[in-house]
């Protein structure tokens, strides 16, 4: 493994897992992203290697007096036979903040990835609910340089009422699974998982992507609950598609 970093981001010492993969925690020594900040994460997962990437705590998005955007660019290259799992902690946009994020995956034939994202409406405990200005997250996947997934989620609470687009829910979660091994039976299996653990507090759906993948999208009212549902789906996918046991990531 080779790595380089620039403060305030730090790559913690990796952990080798019993299943042969590596687990890496990204640490952020700053209080989060401020307006005008740009955070860049680039990672290449080489042939036949396996990486579980996560971070220590939620990504806090602060406002800026200059109305500048907080930018986050994440680019991942997944080579043949590699498995990349990236489940960061939820994003918490503070009052008045503006966020634009782009996550791009370049998949080589034979590569696989499981990516999760959870958006909260703000610091609910202090009554900060949908007071951010803009949240925009673009997720795209290129299979052998051909764009096959293009998902841009944009939430601007001052322009569009959250009730109209999210109903009574406040949190959004998305899990993307990308693999040539994926087929319709896996979508059916994940629907069963969702049916078994989702109550009235989570509203979820899943569907096959245009090529080599599936998306699970969910709405809820608590980050921990969406994390729980996401984890169940994730671990089930690990087992039925990749034949891997569930792993526990300690935090």
């Amino acid at each position: 493994m080779s790595s380089s970093q620039k403060a305030p981001l730090k790559i913690a010492k990796p952990f080798a897992r019993s299943d042969g993969g590596l687990t890496i925690y990204l640490m952020d020594a700053s209080p989060g992203l401020f307006g005008g900040d740009l955070q860049t994460i680039i990672c290449r997962i080489g042939c036949n290697s396996s990486l579980y990437l996560t971070n220590q705590s939620s990504c806090k998005i602060h406002p800026s007096h200059t109305q500048e955007l907080s930018l986050q660019m994440q680019t991942f290259y997944i080579e043949n036979g590699a498995l990349f799992e990236y489940i960061p902690e939820p994003i918490v946009p503070y009052e008045g903040s503006r966020y634009e994020g782009a996550t791009t995956l370049y998949m080589q034939t034979g590569g696989s990835a499981i990516i999760g994202e959870i958006l909260t409406p703000g610091r609910i405990g202090r009554g900060e609910v949908f007071l951010f200005r803009k949240f925009q997250s673009t997720f795209s996947v290129y299979w052998d340089e051909q764009c096959m997934v293009w998902d841009t989620l944009v939430i601007e609470p001052m322009r569009i009422s959250n009730r109209l687009i999210m109903g009574t829910f406040t949190h959004v979660g998305t899990l993307y699974v990308l693999s040539e091994m994926m087929n319709e039976s896996h979508v059916v299996a994940i629907r069963k998982v969702l049916d078994s653990i989702v109550g009235i507090d989570v509203y979820a759906g899943c569907s096959a992507l245009q090529k080599n993948g599936m998306i699970v999208r969910m709405l809820g009212n608590h980050a921990w609950r969406l994390q729980e549902v996401m984890r169940e789906c994730h671990m089930h996918i690990r087992k039925i598609i990749f034949g891997l046991e569930a792993i526990d990531i300690r935090k």
């Binding site: 998902d151 841009t152 569009i160 109209l164 109903g167 509203y203 759906g205 569907s207 999208r217």
Partner: protein
């Protein structure tokens, strides 16, 4: 007299055979799961769809397609420099299609788009929709009704504003007609809802014209509608294909 009025009425008519009336894009799930039980619920659902999805996706696609062709074609009898606008059309088509994350919505949108292109080629052979059709046949494009509509409107000399507005009207009207067919919402109520949404359609259109988003910056916000569209795949009883 506005030369394009009758062609526009024809394109926006519910009998124009694009197949849009076979798709609910998640509305049937909302009706079936009991999220929509009244006319006001339906109104709110459609409002969410208009501001969360149509405004940012469909309206932008009509606008971009219309302006790309209007900017590059001075004379429809002499089409030149195809390459300068073929590439952005291809990218627009790709993103419009892939952005529909529910499989049935994606397939439905492509079917409607291709049917629109076929009809457009027959009615307006000089509009050069053959170019779009060839891109679809060769696998470079999927086919999208918003793009085809912007294209035909550009050919007809219709303004971008009218092009967007007619596309919004057609899409919303199709959904309302489907709700009338699928649920205990009467035709009269349906018409009331449609006319009460005119203001939203006009606002979305004016906003798109006044502040066109950066090219290809399409975005979706209708999360609830999208999940409903995904859940339609396993709905117990289905009247519609999506």
């Amino acid at each position: 007299m506005d030369q394009a009025m009758l062609p526009l009425l024809q394109l926006a008519d519910s009998s124009f055979p694009t197949g849009a009336f076979s798709h609910s894009f998640g509305l049937e799930t909302a009706l079936s799961e009991g999220t929509i039980t009244s006319a006001s619920d339906l109104h709110a659902w459609l409002e969410g769809f208009i501001v969360g999805s149509f405004a940012t996706m469909e309206a932008s696609a009509v606008y971009f397609s219309h302006s790309l062709l209007s900017d590059h074609i001075q004379d429809w009898n002499e089409i030149e420099y195809i390459d300068t606008w073929k590439e952005p059309i291809t990218l627009l088509d790709l993103r419009m299609t892939l952005s529909k994350l529910a499989r049935e919505s994606r397939i439905g949108s492509v079917k409607i788009g291709r049917q629109y292109v076929r009809m457009g080629m027959q009615l307006y052979p000089d509009a050069h929709l053959q170019i779009y059709d060839q891109l679809i046949q060769s696998g470079s494009c999927f086919g999208n009704a918003a793009i085809a509509h912007g294209w035909v409107c550009s050919y007809l000399g219709v303004s971008a504003e009218t092009a967007i507005l007619t596309h919004l009207y057609t899409s919303v009207n199709a959904l309302i007609q489907n709700a009338v067919r699928a649920a205990p919402i009467g035709q009269t109520q349906g018409q009331h809802i449609l006319s009460s949404l005119f203001l939203h359609m006009e606002q979305v259109t004016s906003h798109t014209i006044a502040q066109p988003p950066a090219f290809l910056h399409l975005a979706n916000a209708a999360i609830l509608h999208e999940i409903q569209a995904m859940r339609h795949e396993t709905l117990y009883s289905r009247l519609f294909m999506s």
